[in-house]
């Protein structure tokens, strides 16, 4: 049942691109402002022209949605009358992802440069770094970087840090707005987007930390430079967190023009024949093992040809003997426990799905379980105040398709050999608190 | 004011029809309010009948509450118009210091205020937002017990069997519904539901013992602060001839002649019986007889009179004539006589 990598090696386009991660080695810790300015030059000024540069660069949001960055900025600029808010989303509630933490810890000034550029371009007078309490190292690095900036008298708008509980859903834009306005990190329902009405009812730009780091480089080197790597639809580089069945798990900066096989190779290759992988984190999609080599990283091709998405750049490779159905159920159960408990369809739907899938994963399914699962997946889509149920259902649906033979075996009552397997990260226990 | 007119028109011996109306309207309000609370609870516990859709209960709750408000308004208006209890518009707004059973009336005022707030916010729901509306609506739970206590405290029928039956039924209905309400709920709400249950039990205990020892006993009216009814003064009748014009009344009296020829006449006005007139023939130093006009023991005037066919007297600002009509035998030698008093104005 588990597919095996082909014996012949395919030549991959070099997957690693070094832009954000250029500079001192990761072991050197966070890059101080003097080194940062010496290496990259002073921060250029923002302004309305920057939106055009970003449009030409084709930069897309690296938080998972891959929304064209210039369009987000334009929407905020349209609603802004001089009072808007820029939020650096570094909360990274996805348990498998480490890229934002890593970036903020090692290159905080790159991220902050991008934030200030956005603030200057959009006329924002409030910059918020939205950080979860998950990593003390990151918090300390950020604090030091902010101290350095204020000490350097750079004439920038004030930057404040808003901490949130380390919850999966805390990164949802309406949860960011809620917490940033002094409330809980729970999503809120609104007919208006945060670009129009966000923190303290002001137009708010919520941008992933990595995206802002790219902005800081584009502002220095231009859009043509940015497009030298990547593809037409997905220019530039992106950070990926590679984990699971690979030789050297970690955060890698990849050229978006490369293929997935190159990424796995850069991460030390698979340790054992991989029966599949999860791309994009817990809201992502499962990959058939035959895709692991040649899967392009271009956002449009992923969507149209493979019905999958890059998401937040997590690649979790299954080890030999793992069962995709079992792992998908674990993820689903975790996500069901991580709802904010506010919307009936999500709380009830994910709960019911989790219950039925647990029985299926244990090969103890009743007659109706799989029909219920298919019915409830459609019933729950799009009916929450945020995208939490959609992401959970998308992940499950892809697992049921990709691991269809596993599924049929489970439904026939065959015990799966992949009940508890080492080498694949397990979902953490659900978080506590909402602030 | 029409009220006073009507009150005067009816026999002054008892309370006006407003008093009866307000008592009836008060009881009706309590019954409809009870229905509102019970049906409100029915919607909250998501009861739905076999053939009735659930939203019918929601609509019925709304309609009943509006009827209750109408009855309440009529109850308040008739109370204010009624002259018996001296409850004014001020007492409807300020829950303390009324002349009539102030504490229990105050409860009614507070219950009304809460009810008005709840209904106003419900009609303006879309403007005030869901959370504020919910919190205010919960306050409706407090207006009903206040209304019950108000009814027992201020009402005059507390000991009447029919009223006791009505109140017991209402309390039973709300109690049963409330128990159903606090029985269900998520674990998180358990503290609030338990607190609600305790509050209801306390209310039953204290209100029940108060009702039995208070309104249901004889003598409650006085203890409750019913203002004493002022004794209807045996009306000092007004003057018989109030004026401003004069009058003409028959007189009766006696004449006495003594051997020396002196005459003394005493007469009483038969219509204005407090008026008496005495006439004395002149003594050695006088030429004219003296007429004294008295009202009861009070001397109105004592003046010489001009003699002619009648006696002419000026008493204060009033001119009088006193004439004698007979019998002639008595007029000559003494005895019972009659006469007439004619005045140009009042003699009060």
């Amino acid at each position: 049942m588990a597919a095996v990598l082909p014996a012949t090696k395919v030549a991959f386009r070099p997957a690693v691109g070094t832009r954000l991660m250029a500079g001192p080695a990761p072991t050197a810790g966070f890059e101080r402002i003097d080194d940062h300015q010496r290496r990259l030059g002073a921060r250029p000024a923002g302004g309305a022209a920057l939106i055009d540069v970003i449009e030409q660069s084709g930069l897309r949001g690296r938080g998972g949605a891959w929304f064209p960055t210039w369009r987000k900025w334009a929407a905020v600029a349209k609603s802004s009358d001089g009072r808007s808010v820029v939020v650096v989303n570094a909360s990274e509630g996805e348990p498998l992802s480490a890229k934002d933490r890593t970036l903020v810890t090692l290159r905080p000034h790159l991220v902050l440069d991008g934030a200030v550029l956005a603030a200057e371009t959009l006329g924002a007078n409030d910059i918020v770094v939205y950080l979860s309490r998950g990593s003390r190292t990151t918090e300390r690095a950020l604090e030091q970087a902010l101290k350095e900036r204020s000490g350097a008298r750079l004439r920038e708008p004030p930057i404040r840090v808003v901490r949130t509980a380390h919850r999966y859903i805390a990164g949802e834009s309406s949860a960011v707005v809620n917490r940033g306005s002094g409330g809980l990190s729970k999503p809120r329902f609104s007919l208006r987007r945060s670009a129009e009405k966000g923190i303290n009812d002001q137009p708010t730009l919520i941008q992933n930390a990595e995206t802002l780091a790219h902005v800081a480089m584009i502002a220095r080197y231009g859009s043509a430079w940015f497009r030298k790597l990547g593809t037409e639809a997905s220019p530039g580089t992106a950070l990926m967190t590679v984990c699971g069945n690979v030789g050297r798990p970690g955060v890698y900066e990849v050229d978006l023009g490369a293929q997935l096989g190159g990424v796995i190779e850069a991460a030390g290759g698979t340790v054992s024949p991989a029966p599949g992988a999860l791309l994009g984190g817990y809201f992502g999609t499962w990959l058939d093992p035959s895709w692991l080599d040649g899967l392009p990283l271009d956002v449009d091709r992923l969507r149209t040809t493979y019905k999958t998405a890059f998401g937040c750049g997590v690649l979790a490779v299954l080890p030999q003997g793992a069962c995709g159905v079992v792992e998908a159920t674990r993820v689903l159960t975790y996500l069901a426990a991580e709802t904010s408990g506010q919307c009936g369809p999500c709380v009830n739907g994910l709960g019911a799905l989790s219950e039925a899938m647990e029985r299926i994963a244990a090969s103890e399914a009743t007659f109706t379980d799989i029909d219920h699962v298919r019915r409830w997946m459609e019933m729950v889509r799009g009916r929450g105040a945020c995208h939490h149920p959609d992401g959970a259902v998308g992940q499950l649906a892809s697992a049921l398709t990709v691991f269809n033979d596993h599924l049929r075996a489970h439904l026939n009552g065959q015990r799966c050999y992949g009940t508890a397997v080492a080498g694949f990260p397990q979902p953490p226990s659900p978080g506590r608190g909402w602030q | 004011m029409p009220g006073h007119f009507l009150a005067a028109a009816v026999s002054t011996a008892g309370p006006s029809w407003y008093w009866y109306a307000t008592r009836g309207l008060g009881v009706s309000t309590l019954i409809v309010l009870t229905g509102t609370v019970v049906i409100g609870i029915v919607t909250a516990v998501r009861w739905s009948g076999q053939t009735t859709p659930a939203f019918v209960a929601a609509d019925m709750h709304r309609n009943l509450s509006l009827i209750a408000v109408l009855l309440l308004a009529a109850h308040i208006v008739t109370t204010v118009l009624d002259p018996f209890a001296h409850i004014s518009v001020r007492d409807v707004i300020i829950p303390v210091g009324a002349a009539y059973r102030p504490v229990w009336l105050g409860f009614g005022v507070v219950a009304t205020d809460i009810l008005i707030a709840v209904i106003a916010t419900s009609l303006l729901r879309e403007r005030i937002g869901p959370r504020l509306w919910r919190w205010l609506h919960w306050a409706a739970y407090t207006s009903w017990p206040l209304a019950v206590v108000h009814g027992l405290g201020t009402g005059s029928d507390a000991r009447a069997p029919w009223l006791i039956a009505v109140v017991v039924s209402c309390v039973a209905a709300v109690l049963l519904a409330f128990i159903e309400r606090i029985r269900r709920g998520r674990l998180i709400t358990l503290p609030i539901r338990a607190a609600g249950g305790i509050a209801a039990a306390l209310f039953l205990f204290f209100a029940g013992t108060w009702a039995i020892s208070g309104p249901l006993q004889v003598g409650w009216a006085a203890k409750a602060g019913t203002p004493p009814v002022k004794p209807v003064a045996v009306a000092k009748p007004g003057p018989v001839h109030p004026g401003p014009g004069g009058f003409s009344d028959p007189l009766v009296g006696t004449m006495v002649r003594d051997p020396s020829g002196n005459t003394q006449i005493s007469m009483r006005d038969t219509v204005d019986t407090a008026l008496t007139i005495s006439i004395r023939s002149p003594n050695s130093s006088e030429t004219l007889p003296t007429v004294t006009v008295n009202r009861d023991k009070r001397v109105l005037c004592s003046v010489p009179a001009t003699v002619g066919a009648t006696l002419y007297v000026v008493c204060g600002a009033t001119r009088l004539t006193v004439s004698f009509s007979g019998p002639s035998s008595a007029l000559t030698s003494g005895g019972q006589i009659t006469g007439r008093l004619i005045t140009s104005g009042p003699l009060n």
Binding site: F189, C343, G344, P345, C346, A352, R383 | P130
Partner: protein, 80 residues
């Protein structure tokens, strides 16, 4: 309040406020049905006729949680 305006009307539910009372599905079943847990599945089709709009408004007014609303959008005259 006729529906011939250029305004597009759509019934929306706030899933956070909604508590699954279900009155809406009883009042305007043309637009709302209930899922397996009693919560409303709101159709996204635009409300085109007056009668339906009246029923939709009634459902909005009857919801005990004020969770329903009618979203009015003016279709963009020109698109960038």
């Amino acid at each position: 309040m006729a529906v011939n305006d250029k305004v597009q009307r759509q019934l929306r539910v706030n899933p956070i406020l909604c508590n699954g009372f279900g009155y809406c599905a009883e009042i305007v079943p043309e637009l709302i049905s209930l899922d397996d847990w009693g919560f409303p599945i709101v159709s996204s089709r635009p409300i085109e006729d007056d009668k339906l709009l009246g029923l939709a408004r009634r459902a909005v007014a009857t919801c005990p949680r004020l969770a329903l609303l009618i979203e009015e959008t003016v279709p963009a005259a020109t698109r960038r």
